[in-house]
Every structure is written in structure tokens, then in C-alpha cells.
């Protein structure tokens, strides 16, 4: 029988990330009272979780002590058995409570994220003034877009399942089901012809609509700099790969990670294009990124040096028909 183990301490992880980039024009957006309240609730939840945890701690300590004592005996006496059963039942109940608290906290976090997201959407929907529209047509500078994409990857939720539960589709490397339909506003990889002269490319795009009759998506190129209107493409369903909804936690669901050596499509750092690559190393933690080798025949080995790509932008390889023909 092994000893009972526990993870580390609970920390108020990323409850409200603050960004040190100075705001422009002296205009800071106020935190709305709802969000402030929600943050306060979140804080209370995290505190309670820690309380639960401390409560459970003593039980675990007793369990471990009992194990130690038991080792000294030649035969396991029914007394110890009885005692251990009781203790484990208690510990289990404690753990359940703690999980319950954590669940509540995570839900609160999701709520806050949604609220903030909506606010953001509302504030960006209104063009500041006519000059802005004419001059820059409201688009984001490319460098800024890259930062935002990084941020999306950072904010991507981690999948949490019941013990023994298999990760659902779109968690980590688990592909979407065949009948899966991307929703408008979803970000996807789409294989399009960006320029009539060039080869097709997998680009990062946003779904506009889906025509279920023809099985075609209309997608916008996410990179809009230099265009007055967004570049739109019509692509068949086969040419669209949804981005994963959840990150896979390497410590709990390693099966949802791509294996080293596996061929994938990965977003080349600081671009909006996906290229074929091979997994070099898996991420070790939830926050870490894959290390991948991009296919690149300008290098002697045929691959680029290892580059880091977040889980969100590493997708299962999909051979297109044209490629197969070749």
C-alpha cells in the first residue's frame, strides 16, 4: 500500500492578471463594480479552499503515521485495517469538499473572464473617431496581434475531468469529431490560397459562417493589416481544422499530448501561418509550450532548430487530397 500524497499549496493563480503596459492617453478603463464583486468572491473561495485543505491535512498525517506504525508489525491487525478504512473515508470526503471549492472557484474565474471579454468586445466595437477609421481602418498592428495571440494561448482553459475519464475531443491533441461544426467567431486553421501565384497555406482564420448544404465555411484571415476589408475565403470543411478548446495538463492527461516525433501542424512563432512540424519535446507543465522542429529544407537537417509553440497552436496533421496525389 502506498502512502497518501497531496499536491502543493493552493495559490490564487491568475485570478486577475495585471498588465504592466502603460495605458495610452491617460484613459484607464474602470473596473466595473460587478467585476470587483466577482473578484472579491473569488478571493473568498480561494481562501475557503485553503481552509478545507488545512482541515484535510491532519487526516492525511494520521494516515501516514498509521502506515509507519503498521510497518513495524508483522501482521496487519484488524484494528489498523479498521482504522485506516475510517481514515481514508474521511480523507476522501475532505478531498471531495476541496474539489467542490476548487470547482466553484474555477467557475467564478470563467464567469469573470466572460464578463471581461464582453466588456472588451463592447469597447472595441465602437470606433474611436472617423479619423481612426479612415487612417487605420480599425485594424490591429501586426505586432499587437501577435501579442494578443500569445495571450489567447496563455488564457486557454485546462481540461479537468473525473478520474479515469478520457479527454474529450478538442482537448490537447484529441481531434474533433467528424460531425463537429465550428461556430462563428471560432478560430481555426484554414487551408487557403492566399495569393494566386503561391502554394496553398494553412492560415489562422476566424469562422464567419457555415453552409451546411455545401459543407463550406466562410472564414476571415486573422491578419488584417493592410486591408480595408478582411480577406475572406470560402473553404470546404476538409480544409478547416479547429483549434483545441482545452489545454491538456501533462500531469493528469498526458495521453492528450502529441508524442515526440509525431507530425503536426504548428503555428510558426510570430506569424499567422501553420507549417508541418515534428514534435521535439512535450510541455512539462500546463503553462509550458511544445518544442517543435519545423520542416525547413534550408537547413541541412531538413528541420529548423527547436522552437516553442503553445498547445493552442499545435494541431493534428491533416493531409490534403492534393498532397496525397503528389
Amino acid at each position: 500500500m502506498s502512502k497518501a500524497k497531496r499536491g502543493g499549496k493552493v495559490s490564487a493563480h491568475s485570478s486577475h492578471q495585471s498588465f504592466s503596459r502603460g495605458g495610452g492617453g491617460g484613459a484607464s478603463v474602470e473596473i466595473s463594480p460587478t467585476i470587483t464583486n466577482m473578484l472579491e468572491e473569488l478571493k473568498q473561495l480561494v481562501k475557503k479552499t485553503q481552509e478545507e485543505r488545512t482541515k484535510g491535512e491532519s487526516t492525511i498525517l494520521t494516515i501516514n503515521k498509521t502506515h509507519d506504525k503498521m510497518k513495524q508489525e508483522v501482521r496487519i491487525s484488524p484494528y489498523f485495517k479498521q482504522k485506516l478504512v475510517g481514515l481514508y473515508t474521511n480523507a476522501l470526503a475532505d478531498a471531495k469538499n476541496e474539489v467542490g471549492m476548487l470547482d466553484q472557484a474555477l467557475n467564478k474565474l470563467a464567469e469573470i473572464k466572460q464578463e471581461v471579454g464582453e466588456k472588451k468586445a463592447r469597447s472595441t466595437a465602437i470606433p474611436r473617431n472617423i479619423e481612426d477609421v479612415t487612417k487605420r481602418t480599425g485594424t490591429m498592428r501586426r505586432g499587437m496581434l501577435m501579442t494578443v495571440l500569445q495571450q489567447y494561448a496563455l488564457e486557454q482553459p485546462v481540461w479537468r475531468g473525473k478520474p479515469g475519464e478520457n479527454p474529450p475531443p478538442l482537448c490537447g491533441c484529441t481531434p474533433a469529431e467528424d460531425k463537429y461544426k465550428c461556430q462563428p467567431e471560432d478560430q481555426v486553421a484554414a487551408r487557403v490560397n492566399t495569393d494566386t501565384n503561391e502554394d496553398e497555406q494553412w492560415i489562422l482564420a476566424v469562422v464567419v459562417s457555415y453552409n451546411s448544404h455545401y459543407h463550406r465555411y466562410i472564414v476571415d484571415d486573422i491578419d488584417e493589416e493592410g486591408h480595408i476589408e478582411k480577406k475572406q475565403y470560402q473553404v470546404s470543411k476538409r480544409r478547416v481544422i479547429p483549434l483545441p478548446t482545452w489545454k491538456a495538463d501533462p500531469s493528469t492527461t498526458p495521453q492528450a499530448l502529441f508524442k515526440p516525433g509525431q507530425k503536426v501542424l504548428a503555428l510558426y512563432p510570430q506569424t499567422t501561418c501553420f507549417y508541418p512540424a515534428v514534435i521535439h519535446e512535450q510541455p512539462k507543465t500546463v503553462e509550458a509550450e511544445y518544442s517543435v522542429l519545423f520542416e525547413d529544407n534550408t537547413y541541412f537537417e531538413g528541420y529548423s532548430p527547436p522552437l516553442d509553440v503553445p498547445q493552442r497552436y499545435v494541431l493534428p496533421m491533416r493531409e490534403t487530397r492534393r498532397r496525397q496525389a503528389q
Binding site: 503596459r21 495610452g24 478603463v29 471581461v116 505586432g143 496581434l145 510558426y268 510570430q270
Partner: protein, 825 residues
């Protein structure tokens, strides 16, 4: 008296305390005893007696004025004539001088091995002796030694300049830190014992020993001895000396300081330890570069702020620092001319003593923009922004000024001490606007005020190089100047980095042959500014300086593919610009291929070459299919800080506008003159009530010609003239798409993008209804047609080109009919 092994009192407090105690003790002596002590330095007044000083008789229990001198046998009375009648107070004062003289002569005797040093002490001794009976010891004046400050700008001033020049654009907290470090540096320097000339000769081989010796003598007389001899006027080292001394002792000073700090680190409080061990070395490195740079603006007397720097043209080719490590700092005797001694009257000034140095420096820091701090003193004179006049020649002109309210405290402001009174600047808003600006700056620089929920992140106004600068400050990235050389073997690391740079260039510039890149990168005439991350090269600019032609040619410029779009390119170029300015290279030239033109345009390059052709033709090769582009550098601009400065200026201006608006908020009733029967046809802008109150001024000149003015007075004739033009426009074949209003079926979303649609037929209708009572209205309507077309259609499309062509045709027609003028003028 207390003396250390070298015979000099230690500068620590204990020795000084002992001296003070002894002085107290001497003051307690009976009057006759005091007279005796002073008399030792007074010559005998008896007849023609040549005795120089009283010598007490061999054994004497009680002293009387009638006792006779051991050497001349005349009574004490004869020795003490000049002081006999002095008051007790005066006597005490003279006694103190005598006490100091004792100390000095003791000191002189202990300096056996160094004759020059003894001479110095003797000099001081005789000086004091000569003046001991004066009611006040005058400042030491000596032909050979001179009077402080010996050189201008002084070290204090230069360090002040340095902080202003290098760190003004850092955020408040970091600026404060640098400011504190500067203060600490000055403090340490003032309490540092200079090496004796002999030691100095051992430790640094390159210096001019004569000059150092001279400075050392000065230091002894004005800075060192006065510490324990209060009758001599004390000067702080950093106030008395300038560049010559600092550059000759900097390396030693730095080494000793760091050694001491390192050995004492256990005793320090953690914050201080962090400051000293982590940031001080960096501070010293940056300082070193400036001290030894021949063209650094910090040594300019007329330096005012970070922005207002005019780099002195350095002697051609003299100072191209090859790389930070290869002796950029150590090499070369710097222009060590005769120290410029200011005209007299300097000595009478009161300099702060070390204790006031420690005084708290309360600065309501607006300082992080462009306000020059004065590390020397506590009180910070309120800076003022000059908004006009002078502002024209320097866009970043914010400089400290003395505040209006008179302060009782003597003004130690170093800038005014060392440079003399600041030139008067026209005051526009005066104190108020400063108040406003500092308020605003406090809000802008206060991290708490600017912390919103995730908004900053998506702020599109963040400048391109913001992230890169942030990363450089946090040490994530750094810059390295690399250079291959045959004379001096480059550091191994540098060679490896050059190799990495070559690899990076050849990967990013696949059209360039590898051997060509290799040849250029390793060429000894070419330099490379490399961007480093985690000790690897991730970007770089390879350039060749033409010092005598005062330009540099950029040969390669690239950033590794996976590090694109992080602002590194912009930051790299800005660093290069600053570097070039430091070396008086005021033009950057480059042959840009089609893919690079966009980048160079963003970096302020244009195909419009300002440098006269003879300056570069024959110096640089021209390339097929590449466009020669140039960026002219303005030495007044700190390019790496430009975006921050502009952003802050914008903020200030916006806030000023807002405040102004709040002040004059007033709602005028709508205009009724058009509604009234037979009302006005036309109203000048200035006649609209309230317009002038906002500060708007009508532009001086009427851009219209007299013919146009005359025409506009007669709407019939105007209509006729316009109608002629319009007919010609409509007949032009290219005008087809502009005849009718745009149909949204053909142009999706047209009206969501175009808010002011216009077309030729609408213009015709307006003309018929006599809407156009002046040319301006007509021209602006026509402009909407062209601009709308160019806005909706992408550049390069057929329609876009047609709009351009049609506009040209329109302008030509208007000009030939005498109807054209620039309505935006």
C-alpha cells in the same frame, strides 16, 4: 592627533571626532595659555629681534606674560602684541587656525617619502600662518594651483547631465533608482581618497602624470585637508573637478568602490544590497561609456536636458569605439587640455558640505520626463515647460528653473552654480502649466493609476518598440557592438557572435550569397550591432561607418524569423541611430530591396537623399534593383526614447486641451444668421461666436487669389465658371465611375465605410441649387469623391488608380481656369 598608518587622518567619523574633542579641550584652556599657543607662530616685536615664534621656557608651572622666550629671551608680551587686545571670541578663532596649522605641520612631517606632498602641506601651512590674524581666512589663491572649479562642467554637473541624458525617459521608479545611484556615486567620490601620484603612476600607465599630479595637489588643498582643517574652505571633489580627474581615476574608483561594497554586502540592508550589487555595476558601465566617449553630451557646458544635445563634431576618425570590451574605455588619452579655470569670484560661493548632501531629496517627481534633477542638493527647483518660442528649436525643452517663490535656503542647484544663471525663457503658462504637467505626469507614470483590467494589453497606441524596450530594461535582450579586427584580437565570444550573426543574416536574406555575407560581416571596416537574447544572436544590423563623410551605410539588417513583430527591428534601428549620433554620423544610407523598403520607411528613411551626392558617390556601391534610402539624424533627438517622449508630450497636450476646455465651457446659441430672411450667405470662421475664445486664430494669409475673391462675391459668375469645369470633368472618359451615387449591390458595405458619399451628378444638382457660394465648398465636395474612392478600394486596384488620375485632371482643370487653391492652407 589621530593618524592612520599613512599619517593622514582617516576620513571616518572617529578621527574627525577626536579632532573636534581636542579643539573643545583647547578652547577650555585659560586665556594666557591660549595666548601662548598662538604666540608660537608670532614673531617677536621687540626691537629688531628676528625671533619667528615663541618658545616656552624649559620647565614652567604657571605661565605669565613676563616669561621669557627660550630662543630670543624676550618676554611673551613681545610675541603676543597683535592678539593681546583681542576678545576671547577672536582669540578662540585664531586658536583654531593655529590648531589646524599644528595638524598640517604634523601631517607634513609624516609625509617623508613624498616631497611634493610635503610641499603642498607647507604651502597650506604658510598660507594659514600668513592669514591667521585675519578676521576671516580668505579663500586660498595660488597661481599654480588655481581656484575651484578647475574645470567645467564639474563632475557633479556632468553626472547630473548624465542622469538627465540617459535615464530621463525611464519610468518614475527606475529613474529614481538611477538618480539615487548617481547621488551615491557622487557621495562616494567626495569621500574617496585619491591615489597618490606615485600609486597612480603604477596603476594606470596611459595617463598624463603631470596633469594628475596637478589635480592631486588641488585635491589635497581644496578637498582633502579642509576636512580636518576647518579654517580652510572645503570643496567637494565633484564640485571642484571636471572631466580630467574623473576620467583619470574612474577605473580605480570603480574597482575600489565595488570591492568595498562587495566586502560590506553582509552588513547592508537587503534593498540596498540589491541596488548596489545589481544596478550599480550597470550604472557604472553606462557612465563609463559616457566618460570616455569624446562626443558625449554630458560634458557639454550648455547641456540642458536629454533632448537638447548637440553632439560636438569629434575629430574625424578619432573615436570610433570598436567594441565595448576592446578598450573603448581604456584607450586613448582624452583631450586633456589645460583645465579651464573659471574667472575669479568662484571661491566665495558656498558649497554644500557632505552632510547636506545626505539631505532628503523630495522631488514631487514630474522628473521622469525631461526634467533635470540636481543630485547635489535637496531642494529641487521647479521645472517649467516652455511651450513656445524656444520650443520650436527643441521639441523636448523642459528644463529646471528657479521657482518664483524666493527660498530662504541658499540655492545649491548645481546647474546654476556651474553654468551660471540659466538663460531666461519666455514664460507662457508659467507655474500653472508646470503644475498641470506635473499632475498629469504623475498620473501617467503612476502604475496604479494606469492599471485597468486588461485594457492596457489591447491598447493599440503602444509604440512599436515598447515591448523591446521593456525587455531590454529587464535584461531579456541586450545589444552588443561587434567588430572584427586584425590589430587587436577580438574576444572569442565576439567572434562566435559574429559567426552567429552571419548565420542569421544568410538565413533571413536567402538571396544574398553566403560568402558575400561572410566577407562583409567579418570585414574590419564593418561594424555590427547585434541583438542578443539568452546569449544568442537573434538580430543585427551590419553597417559601415564613413567617419569623415559623416554617414554610415547599412549593409544588412535582419531579425530571426521567430522573433519578428516584437519591435526588435525598430529598437535596433533606434539604437543604431543613437550610436551614430554619438559618433557624429548624421546620415544613414542604405540600398533597400523591395521587401525592405517598408521597414525602412517605418524607421524614418526616405528615398529623398539629403546628403549631397559627392559625399557618398564613390564611397558606397550601388545595387541593381535596390532603392537608395536615407535617414537624416537629428542630434537633438534621443531616438530610443522618442516614442516615450512623444507619447508623454501628447498626453500633456491632450490634458492641457481638456483643462482649457473645462475652463471655457460655454454653450452658444446656434447660429441664426442663415435662417433669417435675407440673411448672410457666408460667414467667416472667426465671426462664429466663441471660436476666437478657444484660442483659434485665423491664419494670416488668405490663400485665395484676388480673382477668386472677386469671383466668390458674384455667385452667378462663380456658378458659370464651375459649371464649365464640371462639364469638362463629366466628359472625360475616366469620370464614368464617378457620375452616379454608388450602388451598394455592387459595392458591399459601401455606406458603412463611406460616411460622406459624393458623386458628379450630386455636385451638378448642388451647383444648380446655388449651393456653391464659394470655391472651398466645391473643391471639398470634389475631394470627397476622390478620397471616398481611395478609401473604399484597395491600393493598386483599377478604381484606386482612376481616382488618382481623375484628381490630377481635376486639379489641372481648376488651375488652368484660375479656380484652384489649397483649401487646407
Amino acid at each position: 592627533m589621530a593618524s592612520s598608518s599613512k599619517g593622514l587622518p582617516r576620513r571616518g567619523g572617529s578621527a574627525l571626532q577626536k579632532i573636534a574633542q581636542k579643539k573643545e579641550h583647547v578652547k577650555q584652556l585659560p586665556r594666557v595659555k591660549k595666548i601662548e599657543r598662538i604666540s608660537m607662530y608670532l614673531s617677536c616685536q621687540y626691537g629688531a629681534c628676528s625671533c619667528q615664534g615663541w618658545r616656552p621656557p624649559a620647565s614652567q608651572e604657571t605661565l605669565r606674560l613676563s616669561d621669557t622666550c627660550r630662543s630670543c629671551r624676550h618676554p611673551l608680551e613681545n610675541h603676543c602684541i597683535p592678539i593681546k587686545e583681542q576678545s576671547d571670541e577672536q582669540l578662540d578663532r585664531i586658536l583654531m587656525v593655529v590648531f589646524d596649522m599644528d595638524n598640517i605641520s604634523l601631517q607634513a612631517r609624516s609625509e617623508r617619502e613624498d616631497i611634493d606632498l610635503r610641499k603642498n602641506y607647507n604651502l597650506l601651512f604658510h598660507f594659514l600662518k600668513k592669514n591667521m590674524l585675519q578676521p576671516r581666512i580668505p579663500p586660498l589663491v595660488h597661481d599654480k594651483i588655481g581656484t575651484p572649479p578647475f574645470e567645467r562642467p564639474t563632475i557633479t554637473k556632468a553626472i547630473t547631465n548624465f542622469v538627465a541624458y540617459k535615464f530621463n525617459n525611464l519610468p518614475q521608479a527606475e529613474w529614481q533608482m538611477m538618480y539615487d545611484l548617481a547621488k551615491m556615486f557622487l557621495y562616494c567620490f567626495n569621500h574617496w581618497k585619491l591615489e597618490t601620484p606615485t600609486n597612480h603612476a603604477h596603476s594606470s600607465a596611459t595617463d598624463d602624470h603631470k596633469v594628475y599630479k596637478e589635480n592631486y595637489t588641488r585635491w589635497i588643498c581644496f578637498c582633502h585637508v579642509p576636512v580636518f582643517c576647518e579654517s580652510l574652505q572645503k570643496f567637494d571633489t565633484t564640485h571642484a573637478f571636471g572631466r580630467t580627474l574623473l576620467s583619470s581615476v574612474f577605473l580605480v574608483l570603480r574597482r575600489q568602490l565595488m570591492e568595498r561594497f562587495t566586502s560590506e554586502q553582509e552588513k547592508m540592508i537587503p534593498e540596498k544590497r540589491n541596488l548596489i550589487l545589481n544596478h550599480f555595476p550597470r550604472f557604472l558601465n553606462i557612465l563609463e561609456a559616457e566618460i570616455f566617449s569624446t562626443s558625449s553630451p554630458i560634458w557639454r557646458e550648455d547641456f540642458t536636458t536629454g533632448g537638447d544635445v548637440v553632439a560636438a563634431p569629434s575629430p574625424a576618425g578619432s573615436s570610433f569605439a570598436p567594441s565595448p570590451s576592446s578598450a573603448a574605455g581604456l584607450a586613448g588619452p582624452l583631450s586633456v587640455g589645460p583645465a579651464s579655470v573659471g574667472p575669479g569670484s568662484v571661491g566665495t560661493r558656498d558649497y554644500p558640505n557632505p552632510s547636506s548632501f545626505r539631505a532628503s531629496y523630495v522631488i514631487p517627481s514630474p522628473a521622469s520626463v525631461n526634467v533635470m534633477p540636481s543630485p547635489g542638493q535637496a531642494h529641487f527647483t521647479s521645472p517649467q515647460i516652455s511651450m513656445s518660442g524656444e520650443a520650436a528649436d527643441s521639441p523636448f525643452h523642459i528644463s529646471p528653473h528657479q521657482s518664483k517663490g524666493g527660498r530662504s535656503q541658499p540655492n545649491y542647484d548645481t546647474s546654476s552654480l556651474d553654468v551660471g544663471p540659466m538663460p531666461k525663457r519666455p514664460k507662457i503658462e508659467g507655474q500653472d502649466s508646470f503644475q498641470v504637467a506635473s499632475d498629469i505626469l504623475q498620473t501617467v507614470t503612476d502604475p496604479r493609476a494606469m492599471l485597468g483590467p486588461e485594457t492596457g494589453f489591447f491598447d493599440e497606441q503602444v509604440s512599436r518598440d515598447h515591448t523591446a524596450k521593456h525587455e531590454e530594461r529587464n535584461g531579456i535582450i541586450c545589444f552588443q557592438l561587434l567588430h572584427n579586427s586584425i590589430k587587436v584580437k577580438p574576444h572569442d565570444d565576439h567572434l562566435i557572435w559574429l559567426l552567429e550573426l552571419k548565420q542569421m543574416f544568410s538565413r533571413q536574406l536567402p538571396r544574398m550569397p553566403v560568402d558575400y555575407i561572410t566577407r562583409i560581416v567579418f570585414d574590419t571596416k564593418h561594424y555590427s550591432l547585434a541583438l542578443m537574447k539568452e546569449k544568442r544572436v537573434i538580430g543585427g544590423i551590419c553597417f559601415r561607418p564613413f567617419v569623415q563623410q559623416s554617414f554610415a551605410e547599412i549593409v544588412f539588417c535582419a531579425v530571426a524569423a521567430n522573433e519578428h513583430l516584437k519591435g526588435y527591428g525598430t529598437h535596433m534601428m533606434n539604437n543604431l541611430k543613437d550610436y551614430c549620433i554619438r559618433h557624429s554620423l548624421l546620415h544613414l544610407l542604405t540600398y533597400a530591396d523591395s521587401t525592405a523598403i517598408g521597414y525602412f520607411k517605418k524607421q524614418g528613411f526616405s528615398k529623398d537623399i539629403k546628403l549631397p551626392r559627392p559625399h557618398f558617390v564613390g564611397y558606397i556601391k550601388s545595387y541593381e534593383g535596390a532603392l537608395l534610402m536615407e535617414c537624416e539624424l537629428n542630434p537633438k533627438i534621443p531616438y530610443t526614447h522618442l516614442s516615450d517622449i512623444i507619447k508623454k508630450q501628447k498626453t500633456i497636450v491632450h490634458q492641457l486641451i481638456e483643462r482649457k476646455q473645462a475652463e471655457i465651457r460655454k454653450v452658444h446659441p446656434g447660429l441664426s444668421c442663415f435662417r433669417e430672411r435675407g440673411g448672410a450667405k457666408r460667414l467667416e470662421l472667426k465671426d462664429i461666436p466663441g471660436i476666437l475664445e478657444t484660442g483659434w486664430k485665423p491664419s494670416g494669409e488668405d490663400p485665395r487669389t484676388s480673382y477668386q475673391i472677386e469671383l466668390e462675391s458674384d455667385i452667378e459668375r462663380l456658378g458659370e465658371a464651375l459649371s464649365n469645369v464640371l462639364t469638362e470633368l463629366k466628359d472625360h472618359p475616366i469620370s464614368r465611375p464617378f457620375h452616379d451615387p454608388v450602388n451598394e449591390a455592387q459595392a458591399p458595405n459601401y455606406y458603412s465605410i463611406i460616411k460622406f458619399p459624393m458623386d458628379l451628378n450630386t455636385v451638378s444638382e448642388r451647383l444648380a441649387s446655388r449651393y456653391y457660394n464659394c470655391l472651398r465648398l466645391f473643391i471639398s465636395d470634389m475631394k470627397w469623391i476622390f478620397n471616398n474612392c481611395r478609401l473604399y478600394n484597395e491600393k493598386g486596384t483599377e478604381l484606386y488608380k482612376m481616382a488618382n488620375q481623375f484628381e490630377k485632371f481635376f486639379i489641372n482643370k481648376m488651375k488652368s481656369s484660375g479656380l484652384w487653391y489649397d483649401i487646407n492652407a
